[in-house]
Amino acid sequence: MLEMRNETYLNVGIALLLLAVPLGAWVMDESYYITVASRVAILALAGVGLNLALGFGGMVSFGHAAFFGLGGYAAGVLSHHAFEGSVFLNWPVTIDGSDATLTLWFAAILLSGAVAAIIGMISLRTSGVYFIMITLAFAQMIYYLAISLPTYNGEDGLPLYLRSSLPGLDMSDDLTFFFVCYALLLLAIFLSVRIVGSRFGAALECARQNETRLSAIGIAPYPVKLTAFVFSAMITGLAGALFVELNGFVSPSILSWHLSGEIMIFVILGGVGRFYGPIVGAALFIVLETVIGGYTERWQLFLGIILLGVVLFARGGVIGLLAGKARHD
């Protein structure tokens, strides 16, 4: 019980800290740090998505950049067409571009979820190393598809000139944009908590621990895992849409396997299967990139050392180190 309370306090602290940084930056008129905090929130959101598959379902997806990137492209391409005043699709149905934030989010979630259903249907027939490799292979296919699409500038990517609009909010204001990302992050964590704590979550966690057991009591593991995989991709896809809006730019780099690896690093650094872990992981990553990256281009060496330390000595990640073992009852 004590450990559980520790983790709760820690989680509240983490959430408040992430809120305090941009507020402090706003007070001191350092808008750069507001953007940094938005990046942390968005990347953490991607991690929260992956955590559902990897942390709770034991599905080590090395292809989540596909969903992040597809979400990003869905949002980017639609707002590009809206800016140009052109249509995205003429046949069989006409789909116009859009600059309405909710439409972009919906498109990102829908596309990443639909593609995850297809990728998951095939990938989840395998497990272990094969699953890692097949998810990577699918992500790379989508990456090369994006590179070879001349309509959207291929490898060079698309600049986006305007942020989308959310009724009642000025999305072009950095602090407002941060609040939106932050709210979505907390919402995604809340949804994860509910899902993992539900009947579905119990079956999902059993699938991770012992699939034979799950089958033996009459629950087929495959649909359970596939559903979780799709949810996971949808959350990561939404993060991709926000990321593109934050940067005002979409390019195939957000589909690359580096990003899949980075999202995985957020989850592992923070603690696999810890709800607030991805925030810690993403924050640590961005801090290292910003601080040590200011001194040397080889900041990833330090990231590697920390990652090695976590994997060898703190299997529960930073959260595990600070709050003790994950509770299961």
């Binding site: 009947r199 579905f200 966690e205 059993c206 033996a216 629950i219 009852d329």
Partner: protein, 247 residues
Amino acid sequence: MTEPLLVLDGLQKSFGALRATDDVSLDVAPASIHALIGPNGAGKSTLIAQIAGTLKPNAGSVRFLDKDITGHSVPKRAQLGLGRTFQVSSLAMAFSALRNVMLAVQARQHSTFRFWRPVRGDRSLIEPAMAQLERVGLAERAHLPVTALSHGERRQLELAVALALEPKVLLLDEPMAGLGGEDSQRMTEVLISLRQDVAMLLVEHDMDAVFRLADRISVLVYGRVIASGSVADIRASQEVRDAYLGE
């Protein structure tokens, strides 16, 4: 004579040249315990695997409640009411004993695809699960993680999980294996108390338990049923003594 619940008809399974299951036919009648005995390597586990659905037979059929289930998957068989315990305990290790049974209760209720309401504090899961734990004498240990349970307790938990499915037939793969005298005694008592509700196919090496529990015994040697009959028949059979009982 009532219709048998589970009928194996001419089951065959070969691994290369080895005939692990060689034309096995047997059945399990309602409210009875059919014990399957035989030396190591006789193919008992292979047979159980074919009934539970983890292995597909090369020939023959498995009928359960008048349905041919030979092609059914493991989860589907379990849903129909064919429960099992494993020779080596197979549980969700990070969960508590209670959570393991709760998961079986939810499987029984076909309510896995519910995403919102927390299972913690859900009385429609906890109460039936506790009832099963009480049935096997594990209620006091309900909140301990499986890793903290003794070997004997894990066997009891396996049984509670299987019972939560409200099975018509239970496949018990060596439920006494590795149990001390007292635990084994207790498991025997529990199985006797269950017999009226659940028919069982019992694979077991502990002959004292088998003779106390079984209504029928079949003897499996090199994949073949060499004898099948009442406890008295089997005790009396010279062939069985030579092949297995070693007297």
